[in-house]
């Protein structure tokens, strides 16, 4: 089934690319979305089923697929308005959609792959398609960002590949020939810890490009600054989740080996450094998207901490990343709106958004509350759980330092939000007819976050719990 999905997606993407006409760009993406919904339903039905040898519908994958499906639908909606607003040629539009469809397919492949090689190949594929989308506007800056993203993520992925190869040593010791996660987690236990440590370092450092955490955070931030906002919504959420999947799978393999404690320390370092760098960088940002890119980095830092601390942290981490996906997506859709109203990308050019567009202002406030993890945001619940886990495992220093840094970030982001929301209306701002549907989608995202945080439905909890069951 999954291999058919990939083939059909490629066919759809390719035909959009070839046909280049309005009908294709209007209809085919919808066909793809329907396919996506069907696949996520199918995956949920056949949970833990292995298909085509390389793919397994495991709970984490299914959970993320749900998120991706919802985001894809929203992204499609906002992409339409984005493309219409700027009035791009049908050729560019077709490139946009075909790349987007391939990106979503590649992301799906990473979620479901049960094998390091396939995971690695599909992550490589995501960088290719993302860089095509980053370059979409064809400006000098876009080119710069796309080039840097492609180059550094290629290097990051090469580094990760070295790690995977080293892990392959363990497998080859047993005369096995596949790199599936199941096999690996069975054999690495008896592997030389020295080599295992090196391989973990390589893998983590390499995939940090995708998770946009320390050490290779910079290019992802740059890319997110430049990419079209709907793409940004995918990049900061589903693509980051790809990085998380890679981290998580590696961690799952390691979790039963003697180097677990060491790996946890590595993750602590990554997490703390990411939050620290994000807070430093946030003091200097001038572009709105960049601010949010660093906010993503901060959240991913928290997730690393949660993954490192374990226990209740595992649950919180999955919850956090799912909720973060919805919040960030909603915010990026909103940023798209802000940019098109103020015709600028710089924070200093924005003011009095609340007066100009009250409904959007309201949803921005809600997003603001959500992203800063202020109750009733669901992120508050997950963050609270992570810090609780930190304190429970006596990581006081880390917890306190992280909290202080989070406070700093909160202050800076609040300042940015206040600048945008209030102040005097600028003279040259003309507001077009406001379509409430977009805001409703965002509001429903933020509502979903609150709902999932406070009262998670049982199937959702089940998925999370079964995802983390391999860790415990």
């Amino acid at each position: 089934m999954f291999i058919f999905f990939i083939i059909i997606s490629i066919v759809i993407s390719f035909s959009i690319f070839i046909l280049k006409n309005k009908i294709a760009t209007n209809i085919l993406p919808i066909v793809f979305l329907i396919l996506l919904i069907m696949l996520s339903g199918y995956a949920y039905m056949n949970i833990n089923k292995t298909e085509n040898y390389f793919f397994t519908y495991d709970s984490l994958g299914v959970l993320f697929t749900f998120v991706l499906t919802i985001l894809s639908i929203a992204t499609y909606y906002f992409s339409r308005s984005y493309l219409k607003n700027e009035d791009y040629s049908s050729r560019k539009v077709s490139v946009y959609y075909s790349a987007l469809i391939m990106l979503i397919t590649a992301i799906m492949t990473t979620y479901f792959s049960n094998n390091f090689a396939v995971l690695w190949v599909s992550i490589e594929a995501t960088s290719l398609f993302v860089s095509m989308l980053i370059f979409f506007e064809r400006t000098k800056v876009a080119l710069e960002a796309a080039w840097k993203y492609l180059f550094v993520s290629s290097i990051g992925i090469a580094v990760a590949f070295i790690g995977i190869l080293l892990m392959g040593i363990a497998v080859s010791n047993y005369g096995l020939t596949d790199l599936s996660f199941g096999t690996l987690s069975n054999v690495v236990k008896s592997m030389n810890t020295y080599w295992l440590k090196i391989s973990v370092l390589f893998i983590v450092a390499g995939f940090s490009v995708k998770l946009s955490v320390f050490p290779l955070y910079a290019v992802a931030v740059d890319a997110k600054t430049i990419a079209p906002s709907p793409i940004n919504a995918i990049m900061s959420t589903a693509l980051v989740n790809v990085g998380f999947v890679a981290f998580f799978r590696t961690f799952a393999i390691i979790s039963h080996t003697p180097i677990l404690a060491w790996t946890q320390n590595v993750l602590f370092i990554i997490g703390l450094f990411s939050i620290f760098i994000a807070s430093i960088q946030l003091t200097r940002v001038k572009r709105l998207k960049r601010a949010f890119a660093f906010s993503t980095m901060e959240h991913m830092g928290i997730i690393s901490l949660g993954l490192a601390v374990g226990g209740i942290g595992y649950y919180a981490v999955i919850l956090h990343i799912v909720l973060h996906s919805f919040v960030k997506a909603g915010l990026f859709y909103q940023i798209n709106k802000i940019h098109s109203i103020f015709k600028s990308k710089w924070i200093n050019d924005f003011s009095a958004y609340f007066k100009i567009n009250p409904l959007a202002g309201l949803s921005l406030i809600l997003g603001f509350i959500s992203v800063l993890a202020i109750p009733p945001s669901g992120l508050f619940v997950s963050e609270f759980l992570i810090f609780k886990a930190l304190f429970l495992s006596h990581q006081y220093i880390i917890a306190v330092v992280a909290l202080i840094l989070l406070t700093v970030i909160m202050v800076i982001l609040s300042k940015i939000f206040l600048t945008i929301l209030f102040g005097n209306v600028q003279e040259n701002i003309k507001v077009d007819k406001i379509n409430p549907l977009g805001n409703i989608i965002q509001l429903s995202f933020f509502g979903l976050v609150i709902y999932l945080g406070i009262n998670p439905p049982p199937f959702f909890m089940d998925l999370i719990n079964s995802s983390i069951s391999i860790l415990n």
Binding site: K148, T177, R290
Partner: protein, 209 residues
């Protein structure tokens, strides 16, 4: 016989550190491709026709013919300067590459694993480390691409050392990486060359706030 190729590979790394000419970089990459082929060929225990064809395409065709040809085209298309000035003087680069090689040989000596061909590690580590150094050291995009390819060659050798039992999957990954990476990177490089009128990396600073 295998050691001979390893030694030649080590010497190509030294030449990479030594030379500043763009043409030389491309040429050296091509040589490395042939050396890699030699390595694979001499370490093959029995020749299976499919494996053999695959390796032939990957090393000779891709690494030493297509990629250098493509890079040469990019170089000419963008009218790159003949010399790429590194930020660290060549003198120190040569010393660094020597140290890297020694380190890498000593490291490989300490690996005790009967399953691996530790001989490949000797230059593979050096190649990866040097590739990173090369990227850091050079200021321009084209050289970055070259550095990336040096890393790729190092990875290829690690996969030779490790992937005795599972060559196909590993090689497929490397091949995909090279073809997609280089073609797309190259296309972007062309565009960068067209847009920025210069191949210096310090031109690419508009993104910083």
């Amino acid at each position: 016989m295998n050691f001979l190729f390893i030694i030649i590979y080590a010497i190509t790394l030294i030449y990479f550190a030594y030379s500043e000419r763009v043409k030389k970089f491309v040429w050296l990459l091509s040589v490395q491709g042939f050396v890699l082929f030699g390595m694979v060929f001499s370490s093959l225990k029995e020749i299976e026709i499919f494996d053999f064809i695959f390796i032939l395409t990957e090393t000779i065709l891709v690494k030493s013919i297509i990629v250098p040809w493509f890079l040469n085209r990019v170089r000419k298309h963008n009218g790159l300067k003949r010399i790429h000035e590194p930020s660290i003087p060549v003198f120190y680069s040569v010393i660094i590459v020597i140290l890297t090689l020694i380190l890498s040989f000593v490291l490989s000596n300490n690996i005790l694993n009967s399953q691996m061909h530790t001989q490949f590690f000797t230059v593979a580590f050096a190649s990866v480390i040097f590739g990173f150094y090369f990227i850091i050291n050079h200021k321009n995009i084209f050289s970055h691409l070259v550095g990336y390819l040096i890393i790729e060659n190092g990875i290829f050798m690690i996969s030779l050392a490790v992937g005795n039992t599972m060559p196909l999957l590993v090689n497929l990954a490397v091949l995909l990486d090279i073809v997609l990476g280089i073609l797309v990177l190259g296309v972007f490089l062309n565009r960068v060359g067209n847009t920025f009128q210069s191949d210096e990396i310090n031109q690419l600073t508009e993104l910083k706030d």
